[in-house]
């Protein structure tokens, strides 16, 4: 039941062709150390699920710049010109998902739900190819779950059971992705003993966390 792992050991989990979710919003709340291991592992043909593709020279942006990603599912790519370039050159498949829908799809993946009905995207390109359903006289899109082989998330503090608290705007997609992958690895600034995080303030319960890595802790 020891969930702790060194950053070094993380490298071994990545394989070509994997689907990987990564927390963070424009790099804030992104697991920089885990992404660095993924970079140095060399896995390619990845499907990446993340809110955005950050910046060309930081975080998951580097995975894009290094042509390691063949499919990106995100809500926003404007801050990384390389993503747009690869998309327009058809080197990278980009599936743009409204941010709230992306959050719900990941939540569905983690919560065992088969999808949600949302009005977001009705009457736009987003509705193409989707099941539509009218309920209570409103037209909705049926948005399906997203799951990954691995979720890489970032928290401020973990206890040894994996209970997590986050830091400010660094929370974003991390708590959702923590339920939505077969292997969930969290990078934390600080590891404490069980009992040191008030159970009322835990955001992510430890049972969903498989591995804990302390930032900078080689």
């Amino acid at each position: 039941m020891n969930k702790c792992m060194s950053l070094h050991e993380v490298k071994a989990v990545f394989r070509d062709g994997m689907t990987i979710m990564c927390g963070g919003f424009l790099g804030v709340g992104s697991p920089e150390g885990l992404v660095r291991e993924l970079m140095s592992n060399g896995a390619k043909n990845l499907t990446l699920i993340s809110n955005d593709s950050a910046f060309p020279d930081s975080g998951i942006g580097q995975l894009i710049a290094n042509k390691r990603v063949t499919r990106l599912i995100a809500s926003h790519i404007g801050t990384n010109p390389e993503t747009g370039r690869q998309m327009i050159a058809k080197e990278l498949e980009v599936i743009l998902v409204p941010q709230g829908t992306l959050a719900e799809r990941i939540r569905c993946g983690g919560a065992g739900l088969g999808g949600v009905l949302t009005e977001t995207g009705v009457g736009t390109l987003v509705e193409e190819g989707k099941i539509k359903l009218t309920a209570n006289s409103i037209k909705y899109l049926v948005e399906l779950p997203l799951r990954a082989d691995i979720a890489l998330i970032k928290a401020k503090r973990a206890d040894r059971a994996g209970n997590l608290v986050y830091e400010k705007a660094g929370r974003n997609f991390n708590p959702l992705m923590a339920l939505a992958a077969d292997l969930v690895i969290v990078e934390v600034d600080e590891l404490v003993d069980c009992g040191e995080i008030d159970p009322e303030t835990v955001i992510t319960p430890g049972v969903v966390i498989d591995k804990i890595v302390v930032s900078g802790g080689y």
Partner: protein, 217 residues
Amino acid sequence: MNAKEIIARRVARELKNGDVVNLGIGLPTLIPNFLPSGITIIVQSENGFLGLGPLCDEPNPSLVNAGGEPCGIVAGAAFFDSAMSFALIRGGHVDVSVLGALQVDSLGNLANWMVPGKRVPGMGGAMDLTTGARHVIIAMEHCTKDGSAKILTNCTLPLTCSGKVQTIVTEMALFRINNGLVLEELCPGVSIADVRNCTEADFTVSPNCIATPGELI
């Protein structure tokens, strides 16, 4: 005062005390600087908090607005995850969403997330905001940098939302969308003919159309 400031100042006058407001990237972030005295708003940041305030101390790398710029929080703030953030947005708990536009039309359609084959920043939270916020205000300069119209009969770019925009504020005028585009206010020094010249869409002039009073801009 430049065009952006004029627009931000006019939008600020649309806000009521206690409104929960989401401010898009760029121009809309200027709005809190122009709130009339006695009006306090609660700013929602879709990356995960309520109670966004000005940056007071040193920037904290974990505390940025939805555009990634360092910011502060006010007393009574709350952090949450992206699902909660958009539950608030989609669920009607955000009173006002202020966004920029590439194009907006007389049906209340908005286009602000892609120029096919050229620039595709993505919709981010804009589609949810326009779907869920109670009042959607477009705050933008009246024309593009090369002088072409952005207020159209029908948007030609891919839509962000269909028929959700209620108000358009530019440095020339304020329109409401109510069975078509209605001119409600003219900025000082701007004529109705000037607006028609810069607006592709046809519009009606409200019988109550006023020159925006000085104290409102």
